[in-house]
């Protein structure tokens, strides 16, 4: 990057072949130092602004969360981009000329024209749109599936008798299909939450398994170290026995004594961390 020629080259290349836009220039501000500084600043701010709430230790974790979500003003320029910008006030914005909205409500069946809804209110309770009483979607869907078959049978019958009357039946079938899709689409947020739960559960299981595995291997190593210790004792005893028996086995005795010293050293090591 220091070489100006290379820089120029890169820019030229961008103009010709860049598929995606380059990352915004402020990505360089996201250094570990800057992030730590921002966290410090936030903590300072929290301490100075709401001392009374900090005095109760129980709310500590909540305070920490508030602290992280809190916005600071008047930051130095290199830290300013570390805080995510606020969502747009009007809830709408444009990207590449296309309008986007923060809330994207599912269009109601009735709005799409002359589609007759099978289920009143689309299965949602009017206030708050929370299906606490749990609307039995599966049953309704199954009924619609069966109705589709029946209506098709009727359609074929009508076509056999008088093809001019078929238009109404076709409309029935169309409405049923639309209703089916609409009910499924209403269920999507539910499925999204359900997948989130499944993912979290999987992550939890994995984490726990990993923790257990680590603990197991740790215990194994501990046992091994202990085993090593007791092994040395045996050798020391052997060494002591050999020195006692006579002078004709000097060499092994020396080795034994050497082992004994090492032994002591080892025990020191093992005992120390336990304290």
């Amino acid at each position: 990057m220091a070489d100006p020629n290379e820089n120029q080259e890169m820019q030229d290349m961008d103009q010709i072949t860049s598929t995606w836009p380059r990352p915004p220039p402020f990505y360089k501000d996201f250094t570990a130092d800057n992030l730590a500084r921002l966290a410090d600043l936030k903590r300072e701010r929290a301490e100075t602004s709401n001392l009374p709430s900090n005095s109760t230790p129980k709310t500590d974790s909540k305070d920490a969360n508030d602290l992280l979500s809190q916005r600071l003003t008047g930051l130095p320029p290199n830290l300013r981009n570390l805080q995510p910008p606020l969502p747009p006030d009007e809830g709408a914005w444009r990207i590449f000329g296309d309008p986007y909205r923060l809330v994207q409500p599912l269009p109601k069946l009735e709005e799409g024209g002359e589609i007759r809804p099978v289920v009143a209110n689309g299965g949602l309770l009017a206030d708050g749109e929370r299906d606490d009483k749990h609307f039995d979607r599966a049953t309704v869907l199954k009924r619609i599936a069966k109705s589709l078959l029946l209506n098709f049978l009727e359609l074929v019958g009508v076509l056999g008798q008088n093809a001019m009357d078929a238009a109404d039946k076709v409309k029935d079938i169309r409405d049923l299909f639309y209703n089916f899709h609409h009910l499924i689409n209403e269920y999507r947020p539910h499925q999204a939450r359900e997948s989130l739960i499944a993912t979290m559960q999987a992550q939890l299981d994995r984490l726990r398994a990993e923790t257990t595995a680590i603990r197991d291997s740790k215990e194994k190593v501990e046992r091994m170290l202990e085993g090593l210790g007791s092994l040395k004792i045996d050798q020391e005893e052997v060494a002591a026995a050999t020195t006692a028996t006579g002078a004709n086995t000097k060499a092994p005795a020396a080795a034994g004594r050497g082992m004994g010293e090492l032994e002591g050293e080892m025990w020191g090591m093992l005992v120390d961390p336990a304290n």
Partner: protein, 137 residues
């Protein structure tokens, strides 16, 4: 292969296509009948595009049966897909509570995990020292 909802929607779309295909088949390959004694079936020249390409009665009948069976199979498939939709028994409130619980559990599990890693590091350095001291002559 999408998620189950998408699979279900695809299956329903396929059912719609099968409806169309069935009608098309019957429309194209039915036999020709005379409604009165004076009617007669118009003979189109051989090379012209024929609107109806009549199949022999037994072939037509067998195809009809097969199409009907396919429709039933598809419908049963759809019902099966409906019955295995995820989380049919949970209400939104259940889910939210579930998510919160899982979040808390995840946090504590993460803490335990870090603890275990720290213990592992300790025991590793311990082991390291012991091994090095053994090597010493």
């Amino acid at each position: 292969m999408g998620d189950r909802l998408t699979q279900l929607q695809d299956a329903v779309d396929e059912l719609a296509q099968q409806f169309v295909a069935c009608i098309h088949y019957v429309h194209r390959h039915h036999n020709l009948e005379t409604l009165g004694p004076n009617d007669e079936i118009r003979q189109l020249p051989k090379d012209a595009e024929q609107e109806v390409d009549s199949y022999p009665a037994d072939v037509f009948k067998a195809a009809q049966v097969e199409l009907a069976q396919d429709l039933i199979t598809k419908e049963q498939q759809i019902e099966y897909l409906i019955s295995i939709l995820p989380g049919l028994d949970n209400s939104e409130r259940d889910q939210e509570r579930n998510i919160k619980e899982l979040e808390d559990e995840l946090k504590s599990a993460e803490a335990q995990h870090q603890e275990a890693i720290q213990e592992k590091k300790d025991i590793m350095s311990n082991l390291d020292e012991v091994i090095r001291s053994i090597r010493r002559p």
